[in-house]
Symmetry: C2
Subunit: 709 residues, 2 copies
């Protein structure tokens, strides 16, 4: 008998050794559901022994399936499906109004439309875990919350949790083209397999939707804001309908970028003037057609009169005229217009002022189903920008914060740059508008993240960029969330609960974005990157057609100093902020190092609080950025053997690329700024590896993510 026991054990070992080596490759994201062992497993098994869906619906079905999948994988035993709570250890999914909730007191107001309560209760004399919500959406989010607790090895007894999203719209914006390329995408092709749609339902889309649901993202714009009217034609809407059908069971609605000139391009009209009755009728009919194909269609995202896109100003109408016309077409169906405030003109003296100048005066003029979507900073997703002055300045409008999950300006996919800290910084920035003490987070109706999900096996182009997708969702759910807590959640679920992993990786992530700022654009600099592809440094570029396309426009470095004077002696962009904010920003001593050169032109020899001259501080920051990456590599190398080899090797290779490119940024920028400033490198500083001309000669015509003509 002992022999039989041993031989079975040996067989078990042999089987696992010989199992098809499906490498851990990151496909499962943070939904890895690694097996639980020891006492926690026993406790978990007692708590998650059965599953009762009291309120069936397609979304409750998704919740049920995910609980079975996750618990089955974690505990080695999926909970048994039961019609009612008839034993200890049931998980009960019940919507408000279910008879099973008769004897519990759930505060419906606190749940809202999408929130949930998780509570340890006794039902029918049995210990149970109740997940309650208004409908399937909350049941789905509550189920993922319970799974998250289990993944983090948190106890499941005595739960009494209520959580609800602060913002009703939590959206990914895909800049995906109809040829399946992705503008500013660094993770392969578009997830939407247009050529094989509508007949092919790619199961990967189901997994995409699951991942979004797990962090509360409830909408996706499928196509590029640099729009293409063809998406609104019948053959393409059929494709869109298939995708919408795959996202729906996971609580996600589909939006489309609408090209403003569509009535001319696909509608046969001579104009797209938003006040023209034929145009209005065309959009109404188009909206009707879309809702016939996608009954829960979310609405349109529009980039208008920006970077060459058509818009209402082509007809001497305002953004509000354009947005409201579309809003009118969508309103009968409950749809929403998301109108982007990303605009800049070649001749306004300071690009940073344009969005505020165009949009703030329109406050109160937008229809109720319009949301004005504002990028986090006044320029364009730079490694660090001050918050856009539009936040808080449009109290009679619904305003969305748009951030970039994809790292167009932060090293593409290879650089490890956790953006939770950047978004936390933005969300917590004090606007002091519309009321004193207000922060950006208080002014929002929605959050949108430019997606980084593509066909790469790891979805995001790198293992660590998955964290930005995760963090975006978690912060959109709760804009007061902590970037550190979110990082820890992600690390535990993605890499493991071993404290040696958590304690090493979380700090590395937390410092990573500052490292990018340091080695790319320290001290408030911005927009120093290569033209068009945005890959690598090119602070010397001065010959582009429009002044505000040139890096020299932004850094304004000369023999006298560096930085963009946005105080009253300069462009006076500070005046777009609330007075108390503006006063601080305008004060070179009070603005803080991080925004110094954004708002001020500063002599090279000006001395900072650090005791260094501006020039020495600049050199120091570039060096600090490189040094941080070197430390990150050492930290990661120290985790070899604690992380599965495939993912470890991938992240290690990408950190090697990051170090190489950080040095490149540092060397090229210092070579250039030294040539302009005439300042000698501080003693002990390593000179750039090559002369300036070497860096200037580099060309990257094939870099990924470039716009298609």
């Amino acid at each position: 008998m002992t022999k039989a026991f041993l031989s079975l054990g040996a067989a078990l070992l042999a089987l696992s050794a010989a199992a098809p080596a499906q490498a851990e490759d990151g496909y499962r994201l943070w939904l890895r559901y690694e097996p639980v062992s020891g006492a926690v497993r026993s406790e978990n098994r007692r708590t998650a022994a059965a599953l009762v869906v009291a309120s069936p619906s397609p979304l409750a079905r998704s919740a049920h399936d995910e609980l079975r999948r996750g618990i089955g994988q974690m505990l080695g035993r999926a909970p048994a499906d039961r019609a009612t709570v008839d034993r200890d250890g049931a998980i009960l999914l019940a919507a408000l109004g279910s008879p099973m909730l008769a004897r519990t007191s759930i505060d419906a107001a606190r749940l809202g439309a999408e929130g949930y309560a998780i509570r340890s209760v006794r039902l029918n004399g049995h210990a149970a875990t109740l997940i309650a919500a208004r409908d399937g959406r909350g049941l789905l989010y509550g189920s993922f919350a319970l799974l998250r607790r289990m993944q983090m090895r948190q106890p499941l007894g005595k739960l009494d949790i209520v959580d609800a999203p602060r913002l009703p719209l939590r959206m990914l914006d895909h800049w995906d083209n109809l040829d399946r390329s992705v503008e500013r995408g660094y993770a392969g092709q578009s997830l939407w397999d247009w050529q094989r749609l509508p007949l092919w339902r790619d199961p990967r889309i189901d997994d995409y939707a699951r991942a979004n649901a797990s962090v509360g993202i409830n909408a996706a714009v499928l196509n590029n804001v640099n729009g293409n009217a063809d998406i609104l034609t019948a053959p393409w809407l059929a494709k869109v309908a298939t995708i919408a059908g795959q996202l729906r069971p996971w609580g996600m609605r589909v939006f489309l970028s609408a090209r403003f000139s569509a009535p001319r391009e696909i509608g046969g009209l001579p104009t797209a003037d938003p006040l023209d009755p034929r145009v209005r009728a065309w959009w109404k009919a188009k909206a009707d057609e879309i809702y016939a194909a996608v009954p829960d269609f979310g609405g349109f995202l529009v980039k208008a009169n920006s970077e060459g896109q058509p818009g209402p100003q082509d007809y001497h109408r305002t953004h509000a005229d354009g947005a409201n016309m579309l809003a009118e077409a969508l309103a009968p169906h409950g749809g929403t217009v998301i109108w982007r405030a990303f605009v800049y003109a070649p001749d306004n003296g300071d690009r940073a002022k344009q969005a505020f100048a165009e949009f703030q005066p329109l406050d109160g003029r937008f229809a109720r189903n319009v949301i004005v979507q504002v990028k986090n900073g006044p320029i364009d997703f730079q490694p660090r920008e001050p918050f856009s002055p539009l936040f808080g300045a449009m109290p009679r409008s619904r305003v969305a914060l748009e951030v970039q999950v994809t790292k167009e300006y932060l090293g593409f996919a290879t650089h490890l740059a956790y953006l939770g800290t950047m978004w936390e910084e933005v969300l917590r920035s004090r606007t002091d508008r519309p009321v004193a003490g207000a922060r950006v987070a208080d002014t929002l109706a929605a959050m949108a993240g430019v997606a980084n999900a593509g066909t790469d096996r790891n979805w995001s182009g790198s293992q660590f960029d998955q964290a930005n997708w995760y963090a975006f969702g978690r912060l959109a759910w709760n804009p007061d969330g902590s970037a550190r807590s979110i990082a820890e959640e992600w690390v535990r679920m993605t890499w493991g609960n071993d404290p040696r992993l958590v304690d090493a990786i979380v700090p590395m992530m937390m410092g990573s974005r500052q490292a990018v700022v340091d080695y790319m654009t320290p001290l408030g600099l911005a927009h120093l990157m290569g033209t068009s592809h945005h890959y690598g440094p090119a602070p010397w570029v001065a010959d582009l057609a429009r002044p505000d396309w040139n890096p020299v426009y932004y850094h304004r470095a000369g023999r006298d100093g560096i930085g963009f004077d946005r105080t009253a002696t300069g462009s006076n962009a500070v005046a777009q902020y609330a007075p108390e904010v503006a006063r601080r920003l305008a004060d070179r001593a009070a603005v803080g190092d991080d925004a110094l050169l954004w708002f001020h032109h500063v002599p090279w020899t000006w001395r900072l609080d650090t005791g260094r001259t501006l020039w020495a501080e600049l050199v120091h920051r570039y060096d600090r950025g490189v040094a941080t990456v070197v430390r990150m590599r050492a930290t990661w190398d120290g985790l070899r053997g604690r992380v599965d080899p495939h993912r470890h090797a991938e992240a290690a290779a990408f950190l090697a690329i990051q170090e190489q490119e950080a040095r490149w940024w540092r060397d090229a920028c210092l070579a250039y700024f030294q040539s302009v400033s005439g300042q000698p490198l501080p003693a002990g500083t390593r000179p750039p590896a090559h002369p300036l001309a070497w860096y200037e000669a580099l060309r990257f015509p094939y870099a990924p993510g470039q716009p298609r003509p």
Copy 2:
């Protein structure tokens, strides 16, 4: 004790049920190594109990690792590594000259450079399986051959096999661009992750190389023949070197497409004249530079003076002048020039004649390390073409057959079209040159397949297109191989050994290419596809700049009849074939239905052997093609439950697309040909679903695989 036994068994079951459900998605290709059960497993375990590598080398290491992986997965127990044969059941890898082969008689001549022997032997008094070869290459191929036997559940006792490749160069040509797009690629992006190279060694490339080694493919051209000189610059050669390092342990050498004008574009020379000493010196230096980075570099593939590519004719030199100049640069390093014979001119009256006219007179003028690469047919990878008259017509040159594994003209990736039958047809075509009875297969020095491998999870864009990759490799190894046997091998390894699968799928594959011919271009028609993207039918196109770009140039349909007269009364292209072949082709009654309209202009009312008029036969063929697809769908539906659900659903969806598109081809072509012929549809024929104008109006600007400008 019984209880412990049971609980362990239960745990085993629970574990496997709860294992992370890594779906069967096709990533493993035909190397799935599904577990063997029952008596076969017992027999296999006795035969594959240990592994002895008598002749270590990097390739032998790959062979060892693959044997451990494959046997471990199939038998649940990897063979034990041993230093010598000291027990029954060892697999011994030994190169010629190894002392372990002292008492065996291996015929080295039969092995050649890359062949292998597999023999059941007794060594040191033990039963063993010997894999013998000249060096690691043969050991690797022999190991895969043994694994193939095991995968097909063939007995391993009493083996006495000798096999060697007939052609020394078996090559995949990737038409991959430096921006990672793939010309005529329908399987995602290029496998080469240029942006992250050279620091990132993507493990997927190792799997790509393994797959190639398993079918004997020993070379890959990494980049598009529509060339880009940048690949030859130092930063790109560093990237190439990383890939070459990943392919090398699997017996693969890297080639590059060389743009003929590179000396001007990246060399700073005013000319690329192949007779200019500066040009010759530049290429010599470039070759030296490449070999410093890639010591086993294979050589250059060149598309010259074809479709706008530069070439020696730009300088009034011949193809031989150009090829020999490059050959001279490569010769000191042992490199080879592959010079494509795919040329056509706008004004020669018959595009099909151009390659022969330009190249045949150059026979004997090419250097020994030049291979002239000829497409299977005289036009361009159409669903069916007669063989190119160049095969057999250049006896003093080395000639390669180029086929397309990717299905540019056969429905992209979604249509199920097994091309083994097409290539078998070509290889077995009688050239009767240079000697009577010769077939295309007898005239070859190499085979090249335009690759269909990309980043799609299933590699090939569809499960069934993997079969074409597999078949290409197997036919390049043995051009006399049987398409049916190869299909059966592939089905057994890819779908399973269940006779119900094999008996259903193999016939479906065997008829699939004829179905495509029938619903696209029956009876010898060709080149009826949409402009530029080549997606869908467009036989009506007549307005392109060059006559030979228009479908009407090829089908010549009019009120009087249809087809291209290539007999003496027409272009006399038949005269390019051997006289006895030409006589048959020129005889309308003898040429055969498959090539009828390729060589003859035939009245609509001409009666075929089938008893139908040409018009009726044309309609019949289009209908037959659609009907075959309908039957294929039914066959596949009948396998539901016998095939894993993911792959079954994917193939089912693609068959649905194929049916839809087959109907579209049939309807659009019949609508058009009817409009031209004025013939009524035969009684009982279903009329096209839409009027001709509907089909003519369809546009597909975003179809995949289009050339980048």
